[in-house]
Symmetry: C2
Subunit: 289 residues, 2 copies
Amino acid sequence: MANHAKLQIFSTETAKPLTYFVSRDGGSGEVSPTTRNADNTLQNPLILRLSHPVDLSSDDRAVLQAITSDTREVPRRTDIIHEGDRPDCVRVVMEGIACRYKLLRDGSRQITAFLVPGDLCNPHITRLQEMDHGIASVSPCMIVEIPPSTITKLASRHPRVIDGLVWASLADESVMREWIVGLGRRMADRNMAHLICELYTRLEAVGLVEDRSFHMPITQNELSDALGITTVHTNRTMADLRDRGLIAFEGRWLRVLDLAGLRDLGQFNPQYLHLRRQRSGSDLENGEV
Amino acid sequence: MANHAKLQIFSTETAKPLTYFVSRDGGSGEVSPTTRNADNTLQNPLILRLSHPVDLSSDDRAVLQAITSDTREVPRRTDIIHEGDRPDCVRVVMEGIACRYKLLRDGSRQITAFLVPGDLCNPHITRLQEMDHGIASVSPCMIVEIPPSTITKLASRHPRVIDGLVWASLADESVMREWIVGLGRRMADRNMAHLICELYTRLEAVGLVEDRSFHMPITQNELSDALGITTVHTNRTMADLRDRGLIAFEGRWLRVLDLAGLRDLGQFNPQYLHLRRQRSGSDLENGEV
DNA sequence: CGTTATCTTGACGACTATCAACAGTCGTGG
DNA sequence: CCACGACTGTTGATAGTCGTCAAGATAACG
């Protein structure tokens, strides 16, 4: 916990060729991490994400599709937003996995959140303030940058989209609280089970779980920095989950063999993710949220 | 970390007479925890809090003073908002200390945040959704309840107040991230030092630190549930901080004897609290944020 | 003045860290 | 095509932080 000597600083220097979309890991090898519609067009993860909390009109969807069409590649392990930056655009992860992180003076790192497709890096559109943490890609990512002016237009013409964004922001906060609970009160195996359940559920919500397995580019080293343990302990804990028959790895794909068992171990209740819209009786009567 | 058998469930049954304002702890005994102006009128912590990020006009202040005048007493250790509630008002802590918490199935509890005067319990005014965690008083508290209609009016007539509330919400998020870092990567003594620095700085921002000491109603049991350790370890760690000459207790007041040393141990950098408005060169030129 | 909550201390054990070494995979370059 | 180096995953031995259990001391409260 104290001195993590070898630190892997994220650097834009370490750019590597983008091989992420080339299936190279046996198993579900042919499947691209990005979900496709029946007609083989790409599913838009932001639309999928926002469709859970709010009812998007076809117009809302069209606008979101247009806004997110201009994606930019970010190589693996590259800062998307540096700590101290004051970003002038709202950034959305469209493909790949990223993370929020903070570095400590002793060189250790703590990841405070994982970002999956459909997640916003800096959702606080009203105040583009200085970042108190960094955001970096874990796998190669596709991201879009939305200028504040576009958000302003959305606010007047597509209020439900804004509603969805606010809702997503609340969900992110809830996830942070759950991480606090996990780091404070769950043993390593339980917390790892919980984190896997979280990723599973969030990825499923944007159509990235197929046949109970999902692409898992997060290394044990990165997992350690998220779970607050060492890589050695991460390795042993993960071997434990495998030995118990809860999960299995097929190349870089993680398959959940026993979802009920994994949820039970992690005491995972998906409610905190706020994926579904809450409706009280009166809401249903009014028809409008 | 595993089985915390004895759990102290917050219950409204345990209501006790409000003796908080009766000074009963030697030392700075005569001082009420609430700061007073020179003319002995009460300082409004919400106004103090919001004054840091934004420039409030005297009109803004007057409105805030009016809105927060109707306070309600909450006894010690009483739920202010239950998990699962869908509160119909925004609640603000005006006096005392409260906490956000989650209970685990095994009976253990994790506190995810402390609320000090000027903090909002449920700042997400646009969406009054179901609470995914509980909020309870730690000490007796005075709180106000602001109906959504009032917030709506504020939005049109006092935009800077809303700006301040949003800013405060961002600061709360940042605090959560720092707790994740602390629970994941800081040893107990460092994390305790960090938490004390956090409370010190936040209380100072609303005028509740006098002569390097502040009212500390949080018990070691509650501290344990915040730091993710046992009460036994909390006790020993706290004794350690005392023995090192960093802090001292005078009744229920915590005096910081060596602020520099405490900050160094906890590697505390107050920047993440976003107490001060950030100004770039252009901001200063424009004069308007 | 007794009862309860809170704080304190000691002994022991469990979980996790640290240190070290090695195996497997992958991309690169000869 | 193979060798090399870098990264990632794996395993063993040992040490340290922290948890558990138990008991007592102190202080608050009716």
